[in-house]
Symmetry: C2
Subunit: 211 residues, 2 copies
DNA sequence: ACGAGTTAGACGTTTTGCGTCTAACTAGAA
DNA sequence: TTCTAGTTAGACGCAAAACGTCTAACTCGT
């Protein structure tokens, strides 16, 4: 039960701290085998570390899982920032943001092989991290919509929904794209692009085609 | 402990007997997760069958594993036969035979992900099936060499080794191609082709390039 | 109604995994 | 050297999972 927040993620002894080293090993195993099939022994071996060391830094398996999720959250945030930094139309930027957010987790989890189980585990033992995960997307998406609206590129009110609802709807659509015929990673990214196109069209300034 | 050899592989109730159905489910799981991580529960669920049913047809997990191997052996035999039925030079036919034999198992086992563990399990609980596996290759390879020699296409004695030793050496070479930097399935098949080329050159009738 | 095959579920046993703990080892710092 | 922080192998007790067995009930085709 040593102090985890000491010598934490920010400290780099020889470039990578124990905690990240273990979290990354755990990510590889959870992605490949799922949560239940991965034992603490497996994680220790994958990380090249003694089993006892895991318990020096983490309270248990669920804690390792949370740390892994937090690490993944950091990655997602970075990718979202990069996606928005690049130029492009609103539609393109929205698609890039969705790919950065939803696609990162999807591809990290081995193209969704164990997504069902992992999602269930997240809900039960890592609700906070899961919420943070979604909060990242919401804040970036809101910023994107508001900037585009401020520059007159889009008109959010055209969608008939308040921004928060619009974003929440978009997230549900992205979540739905994972289910029903497990898609490959490329398929999933394509579906995300289609969703982005629809939502961009819904707020486009110029009138849409109408028969 | 019902009679397994009754209603065995050759019987096809509605096209596929329980035993094959279960063995195929087991193959999928062993390939994806390895032997240890796959439980009888998993196999039953994957096969869409009650757990008790497994024990109506098999003595235990090891028995399921053996049946799965036997099924795979049948597939390999078929593919070897097809490979030799096609026309081509000795070198090409040898390469095709090696791909059919070694490649089938390799690709079935998820590109060699769990090959180490599965091989260890084979040795410990399925020695007979493993031997049969290798015997298949030996008999086909011997036939290929002897036919080509009879038709004057190759001269086995040029290799300086008796045929049995030559084939055994070739099998060891193929086994070695799996290790050291886990290859992808295509890489592995390429390595096999290279090995076939070398062994074909070693028994080629015309004199090899010599500086 | 019969029987062969299957099923859910319970059972006792064995194995595995979890989380804790200890004594020993390794390095870098004082 | 000594001290300390971090690590390590291995043992421990407990809980959970998996194994293999068994039974009573169900579903068929005959």
């Amino acid at each position: 039960m040593s102090d985890r927040s000491e010598s934490s993620i920010t400290s780099g002894e020889d470039g990578k701290g124990r905690i990240e080293q273990i979290a990354e090993a755990a990510l590889r195993l959870f992605a490949r085998y799922g949560y239940k099939r991965t034992s603490m022994d497996d994680i220790a071996r994958e990380a090249g570390v003694a089993r006892a060391t895991l318990y020096l830094h983490f309270k248990g398996k669920d804690d390792v899982f949370r740390a892994m999720l937090a690490g993944l959250g950091g990655q997602v945030e970075t990718r979202c920032r990069e996606a928005l930094a690049r130029p492009g139309s609103f539609s393109e930027r929205l698609a890039a943001l969705m790919a950065a957010h939803h696609g990162t987790a999807f591809s990290a989890f081995s193209a969704g092989e164990h997504l069902g189980e992992l999602k269930a585990v997240m809900v039960s033992i890592a609700g906070a991290e899961l919420a943070a995960f979604e909060a990242i997307f919401i804040s970036f998406a809101r910023q994107l919509f508001e900037d585009a609206a401020a520059q007159g590129e889009i008109a959010i009110e055209r969608s008939g929904l308040p921004l928060d609802t619009l974003i929440a709807t978009m997230m549900r659509a992205a979540a739905g794209a994972k289910y029903g015929e497990q898609p490959s990673c490329e398929d999933y990214l394509l579906r995300l692009r289609e969703i982005a196109a629809v939502f961009a069209a819904a707020v486009a300034r110029d009138a849409p085609l109408r028969a």
